[in-house]
Subunit: 347 residues, 2 copies
Amino acid sequence: MRAAVFVEPGKIEITERPDPQIAKPTDAIVRVALACVCGSDLWFYRGQTPYEAGRPVGHEFIGVVEDIGSEVSRLHKGDVVIAPFAFSDGTCPHCQAGITTSCLHGGFWASGGMDGGQGEAVRVPFADATLVRIPGSGHSEEMWHSLLALSDVMGTGHHAAVSAGVKRGNAVAVVGDGAVGLSAVLAAARLGADRIIALSRHEDRQQVARAFGATDIVAERGEAATEAVIDLTDDVGADAVLECVGTGQSMATAFSIARPGAMVGYVGVPHGVEVPLQSMFFRNVGMHGGSAPVRTYIPGLMEDVLAGRIDPGRVLDFETDLDGIQEAYAAMDQRRAIKSLVRVSSI
Amino acid sequence: MRAAVFVEPGKIEITERPDPQIAKPTDAIVRVALACVCGSDLWFYRGQTPYEAGRPVGHEFIGVVEDIGSEVSRLHKGDVVIAPFAFSDGTCPHCQAGITTSCLHGGFWASGGMDGGQGEAVRVPFADATLVRIPGSGHSEEMWHSLLALSDVMGTGHHAAVSAGVKRGNAVAVVGDGAVGLSAVLAAARLGADRIIALSRHEDRQQVARAFGATDIVAERGEAATEAVIDLTDDVGADAVLECVGTGQSMATAFSIARPGAMVGYVGVPHGVEVPLQSMFFRNVGMHGGSAPVRTYIPGLMEDVLAGRIDPGRVLDFETDLDGIQEAYAAMDQRRAIKSLVRVSSI
């Protein structure tokens, strides 16, 4: 099969890789229909985290079940499925508690010998537990985009909102206007936030944020951003803060705009972050979040996507095919795209 | 009046201080009946945090209302009251949200010119909002101790449990066997935890922990403590961890024994703590807590104390009077006492 692999920083290319085969009776083989590029893929693309030459890439995809192992019972050949960015057995104590990203037997695509999502096919372990079947047919192109967004960014934005304890009527601040930050705006709106302050400097992203439910935009950064949010909340601070970047500055901003007693829900992998522990203690500001257990959230979010209540696919504003994979990365790297969709085959 | 003041590390003495007077119409003057010494008082006693010579001490007391300002309407002379360790106006946005320790106009006893609790009387600002009247009369000595414990340690232990999200049926681990740690055990039991693992090395404290509801005792420290808790929870980790110390080691232990997705509720003021951010992120372990809004919790906890359902006063295992104040500190410093009660006047 053809699949994208990392060559060196700034270079992703399509190469021939072995066709995936059923290796365990709980496996399925999924032919990838739509994949996308994640903000976290840019780390290795930019050479910021190490990545082996020749290693496959991609962890977000929807596709069609082509083959199943003898113990797969809930899925059938021909089913159209969403793959969350991690696979999980569904039965270990952490899966049972909903933290599927901590599955005792789970793992991640394009890692540890697994196929990547940016390729023609993927062997999926624990297929019954990992994959979520998409019901119905004849969905619109926009709906396919939104279903694809459930493989990572929408579930991750939702995780920020859940971790921050967003409640109906809250004033919520969202730090970060990447695909995850925008998804977090949508998640906060879905959970009933009255006011959603999106910290965003880019006009195209501000537009998506507003379409997703942002009531206020703060374009400033650093201390000016803090002052703006504090002003907007009548000197109180936000009831919940969703941190969707992970840098030292974004986390500092997140803590500084949280009202006493509030939670910072964070989903950006922390890079160079210092936690302001004394101020957190004396203001009772907490933090919770991490690698989102997207699998747990897909069914609930999918219901709202299929009913047309949310359209997280709007963050996919650039499209190409496998041959255009390099451009899919470059467009995001150069901020020409919020998020790139890669059309691999027909559904 | 006579009141305890800090002289130098290791030395607390009784001195003459001006009788407190009503300064604002919302003030009350409370004659102190029972006070106690806090684990946090040991910081300045041991010279670990700076403290001015001659500054009053103490922030936990119950007493009798002796005088009220013209705008005090909910309290009357003769009322017996619990003072939480912070005063608060009850009307600012943070008080309204229950975070009374962040009151915009509040403050702390023995700080910024306020009287200390370890003395004969205290001027109490925002008396209607700050003080909680104790109903009934003829309470037993044990019940007075338990009511006194609501001024700080029981509310603080409860805050750890609330911040960690303790739910009915949970397996909870409590790090720290001081008065707050033991109170946290009691709070977890009150909230319906099925299993409570108390990390405690001292036999007298283990006994109180068991009386408060601990089902398991782990006497080890550091990595051995982590292993023991992980073993006890079938390799899963605790559903909620209550951190009641605040040192680097105790916080490291707390994070290491939390199951993926769990919260560490922390109420020990952090000293030399490094937050294990990467591991928190990838295991989805959060932290919340801080300076406990005890005032918010007193009514609910008092109901259970008066009904005999909880007896947090058991942590007060040493008693003296104002003249014995030095010994009250020394007994705790030398770990001869869990917590010292200072009998100042009759109720």
